[in-house]
Each structure stands twice: as C-alpha cells, then as structure tokens.
C-alpha cells in the first residue's frame, strides 16, 4: 500500500506509518506548495503514480493524504476514476482522507464545524504551518516584501488557532513558540487545541486494515467525534478569551 500525500503532512504520515505495524506502507509526498495551486494537485498525483509505476512500484491500494483542498472535486474525480479501473481489474484502488482540508481532518469534522461556527474569522495553524509560518505565510503571501499586504490578507481575522499534532513536551513547546510568534506578527490572539492526527490516522489505519469487502472506508459513516469535554480539556485559552 502507498500513501501519497501533501508535503505539509510528511512528518505526520511518517509518524503514523512508523508506529504500530504499519511499517510496510510506503509514503510519498508531493510539494506542499501545491496548496496554493489546488487545480494542479490531481494532475501531479497522476504523474507521480505513473512515475512510480515506471520504476516498477505498483500498489494494490493508494491512500491520498489530501482532503478536497479546493481542487473543486478533481481529487475525488481522480479517485473515482481509479476505483472504476480497479474494479475492472486494472491498477490500484484509491481513496482520500475525508474532509475539506487538513485543518478539518486533523480537528475532525464536528470539532472543526464547532470552532468555525464559534468564530468564522479564525486562521488555523497546524504544526507544519506553525513551524514554517515565515516561509509559507509571511514570504509565500508576499507580506515580507510588501508589509502593507498584511492588513489586506488578515484584516478581517480575529484569532489564530493552533491545531497541534504534538502532545505536551519539549517539541510541543517549540511548536507553540512558533505559533505564538506567527500570531504576534498578525496581531491576533492565539489559542491552542491538541488534535493529534485526527482523521488522518483513523483513515490511514482503516484503509491499511486487512481487506474486508472493500478497501475503501465508508466516508459517509458517522465520524469519530470529539466530545465537547475533550475539547474543553485540550483547549487552552491563552492570553485572550475567545471572541464570542
């Protein structure tokens, strides 16, 4: 089995695969910067799979470490195409992580909906985005060269929420410091929510599980929901209260 994912998830995918009997799964990543050109994701996935096949690396199952990611359904269409071919005996079966984007699948859909409802004007960070805030946000959006753009991008935002994949500890403290530096640059309060790997892990584990009738998890099934008490326990409202 192959997991082909966004470069922004490389550490997380390797960590999940590196633990608990999933070591036989291959992990490949595409550049994280495709995030900004979501129309290119599906074609790049196809190209990478072709290249791997040419190297003799063919798989029975492929999990895409992507959400919809603003591809306007193109990633889903690609999965559907592979599924049809697979059903006809040609090529791997293919599915993706359920959810609109990584913020949603790390948090899980119910918690993400709850946070977005509570404050739509939230800018989310993952561990990856927090660590690379300067490169991806400050430089990537051109704010480094044109500070006047910061207001145009972020003027309507009210808070930053770090959805962290890392449990308490030294590593977590470093990530929090990056997130705080980023939020400070935006002049926004920071909140921290520990999500773990969320649906990335549950999906990967279920796709990797020995085949029952189908290799594809039922994405319409109710998702593991994070109960509000868990949320309360893991959310640390730093410095500022959540704007209601």
């Amino acid at each position: 089995m192959l997991v082909l994912g966004c470069g922004a998830l490389a550490n997380e995918l390797r960590a999940i695969v590196g633990s608990g009997g999933l070591e036989h799964i291959d992990v490949e990543c595409l550049p994280a910067k495709l995030h900004n050109r979501p129309a290119l994701i599906a074609p790049e996935v196809r190209a990478r799979l072709n290249r791997l096949a040419q190297q003799g690396r063919t798989y029975e199952r492929v999990l895409l470490g992507y959400g919809d990611c603003g591809s306007a359904g193109a990633i889903d269409d690609l999965c559907a195409e592979f599924e049809r071919a697979h059903a006809a005996g040609d090529g791997p079966s293919m599915t993706r992580v359920p959810g609109a984007h990584c913020y949603e699948f790390f948090a899980t859909a119910p918690l993400f909906a709850e946070m977005s409802e509570a404050e739509p004007a939230t800018f989310y960070l993952t561990d990856y985005l927090a660590r690379h805030f300067d490169l991806l946000v400050w430089q990537g959006l051109g704010i480094a060269d044109h500070p006047e753009l910061a207001e145009l991008y972020f003027g309507n935002y009210r808070r930053v929420v770090l959805l962290t994949q890392t449990p308490d500890g030294a590593q977590r403290a470093r990530i929090e410091a990056c997130a705080r530096a980023g939020a400070d640059r935006l002049g926004l309060p920071l909140e921290i929510v520990e999500t773990g790997y969320g649906e990335l892990e549950t999906t990967l584990t279920s796709v990797a599980a020995p085949r029952r009738n189908t290799a594809t998890p039922d994405v319409t099934a109710p998702r593991r929901s994070t109960v509000p008490s868990e949320l309360a326990a893991s959310r640390r409202s730093d410095e500022h209260q959540v704007p209601a």
Partner: protein, 240 residues
C-alpha cells in the same frame, strides 16, 4: 548604492517621466505600472490623462480596466500569484479613487446595480473585491456586504438597495453550499425572479452554479463584468 553604470531596470523605470510620454505610451506605461502594483504611478498617470482632457470613463476603461484584465489573464495562466494580483488591485483602487467623484459628476446612469458579498463562514475577499472593482469599472453601482454574509444580511440588503443582481463569492468547499441556502430562501419568499444571481470563487464551476440555481457562474472578474452586462441587457430586452 548602485552607480550609474549598474542601474538595474527597476531603477531605470523609476526615472520615467510620465508627463513626457504621449497618450499611447502613457497608457502602455500605466498598464505596466498597474501590473507591477505601483499605486502612486497609477494616480499620477490618471491625473495626467484627465489633465489632457480625457474623460474619466475613458481613463478608467483604457488604462485601469484593461490593465487589470491583463493581470487577470496572467493570474489564470499561473504567471502571477495572489500577492501580485493584490498589489495590482490596490493600484487600480488608488486610480479609481481619483476617478470615482468625476464619474459621479457626469451623472451617467449606472448600467445596473449589484449587491455582492462573501457567504457565511468564509473570510476570503480578494476575489470578491476584484469582481466589485471590475463591475464598477464596467459601470455598475456596487454595494459590497463584505465577508461572512448570512442569508438575512443578503435579504436585508436586497430589500434596501433593490439591485438588479445578487453576487455571491465562496472559496471554501465548506462554505460554497451556503449559496444554495440563499437562493432557496429567495425562492421560498417568492423573490427569486426579482434578481439575477451570479456566483464565483476558485472551487466553483459551471455545474455547481447551475446546481445552486444561479443565473451564471463566472470564472473571473473580467468574465463577471461581461456576464453581468449581458444578463442585464437580455433582461431589459425581454422586458421591453
């Protein structure tokens, strides 16, 4: 500091005396300046053309709107990315600010009125703002409701401003379906036929526009200006 022998092209550009250019060269230079997001140069060029007797609408169309159209094409083709588009839009905005009072003075009837907003839950507004500006450039009166607009705000604005067109923007897969909530509410209240509805945003497509019951999906701001104009003309012709 660069000495005279090593002046790079950016420095050389700064030397250009806009007032020394004839009209055609000035327009071409303004296209370059808007492309490069140079607001002060756009303001200067705009004032020069006005001083030479150009009408505000002619400056708007030939200098600003045309330049922004080129920016739109290069964005679509992946030559420009969001920061450049945002800088260009800002330069255009600076020019528009000079022209807006003059356009109002001419007393020319707007071609139509549009109420536009980004739907509930969505805070993306760069594309929506650009659409608003290009529609204004095409002669529309634009009422911008901003971001995170819920159905009550849309309906309230429709009742207050009685526009010809309602425009909705969404950039998130999770917020696009809200467009249907708004259209369905219009239908429920028997108001759907009172307005033309146009929708847009990067993750949308033609099929989605049809599914939510919009009159048109527009892939970019230039198309939005054309489509809005065509829709209004068709509706007026049908009513005549």
């Amino acid at each position: 500091m660069a000495d005279a022998a090593t002046v790079d092209s950016a420095d050389a550009d700064e030397e250009i005396d806009l007032s020394a250019l004839d009209d055609d060269d000035l327009i071409a230079q303004m296209h370059d300046d808007l492309y490069d997001g140079l607001g002060p140069e756009i303001v200067e060029g705009t004032e020069l053309l006005l001083g030479r007797g150009w009408g505000a609408d002619k400056v708007l169309n030939e200098a600003l709107v045309e330049a922004m159209r080129i920016v739109g094409i290069d964005f679509r083709d992946g030559i420009l990315f969001v920061p450049e588009v945002l800088l260009a839009a800002n330069a255009m905005k600076a020019g528009m600010e000079v022209l807006r009072p003059l356009l109002a003075e001419t007393g020319a009837e707007p071609i139509g009125k549009i109420v536009i907003g980004t739907v509930k839950g969505d805070i993306h507004d760069i594309g929506k703002n650009l659409v608003g500006m290009m529609l204004e450039g095409a002669g529309f009166e634009v009422v911008d409701l901003g971001i995170n607009t819920d159905v009550d705000e849309f309906l309230g604005a429709l009742a207050e401003h009685r526009p010809d067109i309602l425009g909705m923007s969404a950039l998130l897969t999770t917020t696009m379906p809200y467009m249907k909530v708004v259209v369905d509410t219009l239908i429920e209240q028997g108001l759907r036929d009172d307005y033309l509805v146009i929708v847009g945003g990067a993750p949308l497509n033609q099929e989605f526009g049809e599914a939510v019951g919009a009159d048109a999906y527009c892939r970019d701001a230039a198309v939005a200006a054309e489509t809005a104009t065509d829709l209004i003309k068709a509706r007026r012709a049908a009513a005549a």
